[in-house]
């Protein structure tokens, strides 16, 4: 077992875990952060994307021990409080109908928040390339792109 300590969505946690535990497994099974989901086993889908010290990572591609001493933000910690004070990206996804089944949404939102942090005014192509590592099967991406445009305050594509 290995001892890890980190801050997750503002909360300090310390646990003894099997060294092979993936960060996403620790978040879900260890901390009950089930807002972060697992969509594949090859790091392709991005559904498990969280922020590790402020940068987006696929949490299935990080061992929990690698996050020792780090600050992790999940979809559950993005808004100050659930239901109110939503992050602008969360608002934009709802406003632009950027989700249907919602399974890819936590990862998609975490990734697009990171995208705008790096590039606050992305073109459509830059948005599309910026979320290339996140798969969505419902929306055809059209409205996800619109949501990012809206959150960025750039011109929003037609519905």
């Amino acid at each position: 077992m290995a001892r890890i300590s980190m801050r997750v969505d503002g909360m300090k946690v310390t646990d003894d875990i099997e060294p092979r535990t993936l960060l996403v497994q620790y978040l879900r099974e260890g901390l009950g952060k089930t807002g972060t989901v697992i969509g594949c086993d090859t790091s392709n889908c991005g559904a498990c994307t969280v922020h590790l010290d402020g940068d987006s990572v696929k949490s299935c591609n990080v061992l929990a021990v690698q996050a020792d001493g780090c600050e992790v933000t999940t979809i559950e910690g993005l808004a100050d409080t659930v239901e109110t004070d939503l992050h602008p990206m969360q608002e934009a996804f709802r406003e632009c109908h950027g989700l249907q089944c919602g399974f890819c949404t936590p990862g998609m939102i975490m990734q697009t928040v990171d995208l705008l942090k790096r590039n606050p005014q992305p073109t459509e192509d830059e948005i599309r390339e910026g979320i290339e590592g996140n798969l969505c099967r419902c929306t055809g991406y059209h409205n996800i792109v619109r949501a990012v445009q809206q959150a960025a305050g750039t011109e929003v594509n037609a519905l």
């Binding site: 807002g35 989700l99 089944c101 099967r137």
Partner: protein
């Protein structure tokens, strides 16, 4: 107690682009996916799956696995009795269909790679997975039949005991059915004095690939056994549990909590569900199984996989005279719940919007040692639409006219509706002229044709192709009587209940089971309008057989057109029950009451009561008319008389690099007629997502098996799901011909985009290359296939040969797809 007032101002909810009620929890991670459920004492399962496509099981040694830390038990088929149940086929398409028994766990023989042979129950998912690796299974390999082409030869048999790979032959003939002429005569006549187009198209195998992997939890503690499953069909699943395990329905509660997509892929009664149910009962403990993505791709049912031999006859000027379809459909190793029926759903759609005087459809379903196939978005109708829309382009090329012109020459004119087709369906409404005119304008059709001509004249290495698909489809599954006549084992009605709470809020219970469609929002809009209550005051409850006791669930673009109409009828019954109570309380005659502005009012006065006020009065029941029960709640079941026929015109511009074979989508425009629209935002989302799934069949996706029957596209590394960077933004619009078979005038939209888009894209690719002598490119239109089509004059060849297993010695242990030199370690 205060009653909720009626809406202050009467605005129509129907037609508003309401933001979805569902989203608040989905964008904050406050979700209840099945895999999120954890119960005290819960055990976790891992499956041991066959690596061979066809083999005899000669021994299973579970001793090492049983000794592994945290393992409760390891079980194989021999450890279960018949209470394990079986996987059912609900649609034997012919009386003599061959249907091998499908046990959830293989006992002596495996019939596809991925079939379950043993199962481990352990304290954690990781412990179960570790132990599953320790189960030693001895196999004696048997010859496997993998491809449809080989299977129809009946040389190697998927199920030797059956003596054949052929399951059922389903035939429709317009001369026999009395709906039209003799197709052989039409073809013979065209051979001597007309045009005969003969083509073979392949519908590659696809994987639904919903984003949420399937997961099942079963809690056997308490009087009812509760099952949570990532399913589209909680009601049908409960029936299947009861019908095959001997546990009565009254003891089974099935819940579909938040479900992450389906696309037909979760329209199944799965071995995994049966195993979880059985082991939970056996151990008396809650049990969970969540598949990995690789397991999902391997063992959750696949879709499409047909070979279509098509003969179209026409007069010299392009008037169609006959269509003959000879279809081979790959069932995989078993006949899935609707497996054999999927191609039959296409039987009525090959003639599409065109006035064929003679039609014949022959469908042979065939077994192979591959994953079972069943519904995938569109189910039968994309295949039919692809065939006919490709053929119409071929006919246009043969006649030498614009493909839109040949369509217009043959389609049903607006004034001819309702129109009974050669396949025996009556299309109630539509306007192909209007949708096409609008789509052409949006697309800039004439300008793009001009640009195409210029590029051709200049021998531009990048050619432009324009693809057309003027599709229709039958959806809203389905009239129960029609299903009965097709030997389907169940009905197609839908049930709804409307309940009023003491404070005047409304609870709507529907038998439809959403998994991303936005029912909670759209159904709220319908009921808000009908009862005159606020959108926010309507709560939609679904997906739990203890709450929504009756239902046929969600698939086949049915929820709104069947379930929505049931809702309307239930709401109307509420109003009727409220009417005498309102009259009594307002001291008026029932004959003077009218429902206006969301209230029961006394005609000619300003007196009235809202449903909320009446609900509160009924709850107290202090002053009701004699003989009237204290209950406004109402339910209704709606069984449609007919299918529902959305249509539309889709136009696609593709740029094709003739030097590299690379294709690039330049523009995609569609104008769909889906009748009246409840929520344009949700409709747009359905269209966008549908389009990309159809485009993905045209360009990217294919489930590929090697010769041994190993799925080599068994992970998201290999199965090419499109990303945002692969796709473009779309231009969509609508024309409106209300459906006449439901009072809302709505048509289904869930599958339309997928059904329409595949042929539009391939037609565009072929259109770009037609001057180079290309008249077909096999799907998916990869750069390699396009390049071969240009340079070899073929349709581009099979994928199988190019997709050897990654760790095959013939490829230096690295495979030869997506590999660069030097990555072999």
């Amino acid at each position: 107690m205060t009653a909720v007032d009626a809406r202050p101002e009467q605005t129509n909810e129907i037609g508003r682009d309401r933001r979805r009620k569902e989203d608040a929890r989905l964008i904050t991670g406050r979700t209840r996916w099945t895999d999120n459920i954890n119960l005290p004492g819960m055990l976790h399962l891992a499956m041991v799956r066959s690596p061979f496509a066809h083999a005899r099981i000669t021994g299973i040694d579970t001793s090492a696995a049983e000794e592994s830390v945290g393992v409760v038990t390891v079980l194989a088929a021999k450890d279960f009795d018949e209470s394990l149940g079986v996987c059912i086929n609900a649609w034997p398409i012919t009386p003599d269909q061959k249907t091998p028994a499908h046990p959830p766990i293989a006992s002596d023989r495996v019939t596809f790679a991925g079939e379950i042979v043993a199962v481990v129950a352990a304290r954690s998912a990781a412990a179960a997975r570790d132990a599953a690796e320790m189960v030693e299974v001895d196999y004696e390999e048997l010859p496997a039949v993998v491809s449809l082409e080989e299977a129809v030869k009946d040389e190697v048999l998927a199920h030797p005991d059956l003596g054949t790979n052929k399951s059922a032959l389903w035939v429709f003939d317009s001369a026999q059915a009395g709906t039209g002429g003799n197709v052989e005569e039409a073809i013979a006549s065209a051979k001597s004095d007309g045009i005969v187009i003969e083509r073979t198209y392949r519908q590659q195998r696809l994987i639904p690939a919903f984003m949420e992997p399937r997961s099942v939890v079963c809690d056997p503690t308490g009087e009812q056994i509760t099952v949570w499953s990532a399913t589209q069909i909680p009601h049908i699943l409960r029936f299947a549990f009861a019908a095959t395990t001997g546990v009565p329905e009254s003891k089974i509660r099935v819940i579909a909590p938040d479900v992450g997509g389906g696309f037909g892929g979760k329209l199944q009664q799965t071995p995994e569900e049966m195993i979880v149910f059985a082991i939970a009962r056996r151990l008396g403990k809650p049990v969970k199984y969540t598949e990995t993505r690789s397991e999902s791709l391997l063992a959750a049912h696949h879709g499409r996989d047909q070979i279509q031999k098509l003969t179209l006859s026409a007069t010299k000027d392009g008037q169609v005279t006959g269509l003959k379809v000879e279809l081979d459909a790959n069932l995989g190793a078993y006949v899935a719940i609707v497996g054999g029926g999927v191609p039959v759903l296409g039987a009525f759609m090959f003639n599409a919007i065109y006035k064929f005087p003679a039609y014949q459809f022959n469908c042979q379903t065939v077994f192979t040692n591959t994953t079972w196939t069943d519904a995938y978005r569109g189910a039968g109708r994309p295949e039919a639409t692809y065939a006919i829309e490709r053929l119409m382009d071929e006919l246009a090329a043969e006649v030498g006219v614009d493909p839109l012109e040949i369509r217009e020459k043959n389609w049903i004119k607006h004034e001819e509706f309702p129109f009974t087709t050669i396949a025996g369906l009556t299309y109630d409404s539509g306007n192909y002229e209007a949708a096409t005119a609008k789509a052409k304008e949006m697309f800039g059709y004439d300008e793009l044709r001009r640009e195409q001509a210029e590029r051709r004249a200049n021998n531009d290495p990048v050619q432009l192709g324009i693809g057309i698909s003027t599709f229709t489809e039958m959806c809203g599954l389905a009239p129960s009587r029609v299903l009965g006549s097709l030997d389907y084992g169940a009905g197609g009605w839908e049930h709804a209940q409307v309940r009023l709470t003491p404070t005047g809020k409304v609870e709507v219970i529907t038998g439809a089971s959403a998994h991303g469609q936005g029912h909670e929002t759209a159904f709220s809009q319908i009921v808000a309008d009908r009862l005159g209550v606020a959108f926010e005051d309507v709560e939609v409850l679904h997906g739990d057989t203890q709450i929504a006791a009756k239902g046929y669930d969600t698939y086949g673009s049915r929820s709104l057109v069947v379930g929505g109409e049931a809702l309307v009828r239930a709401a109307d019954k509420v109003l009727e029950k409220a009417k005498p109570i309102a009259a009594h309380l307002l001291e008026a005659s029932v004959d003077d009451m009218e429902f206006t502005g969301g209230r029961w009012t006394v005609r000619g006065t300003d007196q009235g009561m809202s449903i909320g006020e009446l609900s509160t009065a009924v709850f107290a029941a202090h002053n009701l008319p004699d003989g009237v029960e204290a209950n406004l709640d109402s339910e209704a079941t709606f069984d449609p008389e007919n299918f529902n026929f959305p249509h539309g015109t889709h136009l696609c511009a593709m740029e094709v690099d003739t030097e590299t074979g690379q294709v690039k989508m330049r523009k995609y425009v569609c104008c769909d007629d889906i009748g009246n629209i409840i929520n344009p935002l949700i409709v747009a989302g359905q269209v966008h997502g549908g389009l990309v799934q159809g485009i993905a069949q045209a360009l990217w996706e294919e489930a590929v098996y090697d010769d041994a029957g190993t799925l080599v596209s068994g992970s998201f590394v290999d199965y090419l799901l499109p990303t945002a960077a692969d796709t473009i933004s779309f231009e969509i619009d609508h024309t409106t011909s209300p459906a006449t078979t439901n009072t809302l005038g709505t048509k289904g939209v869930g599958e339309a985009g997928t059904i329409a888009s595949t042929p539009a894209v391939v037609n565009a690719v072929v259109d770009a290359l037609r001057p180079l002598g290309v008249h077909d490119v096999t799907m998916p239109c990869t750069p390699e296939r396009v390049w071969r089509a240009i340079n070899e004059g073929s349709a581009g060849g099979e994928t199988t040969g190019a997709a050897a297993a990654h760790f095959d010695s013939s490829t230096g242990m690295s495979g030869n797809v997506d590999r660069t030199e030097g990555d072999v370690q």
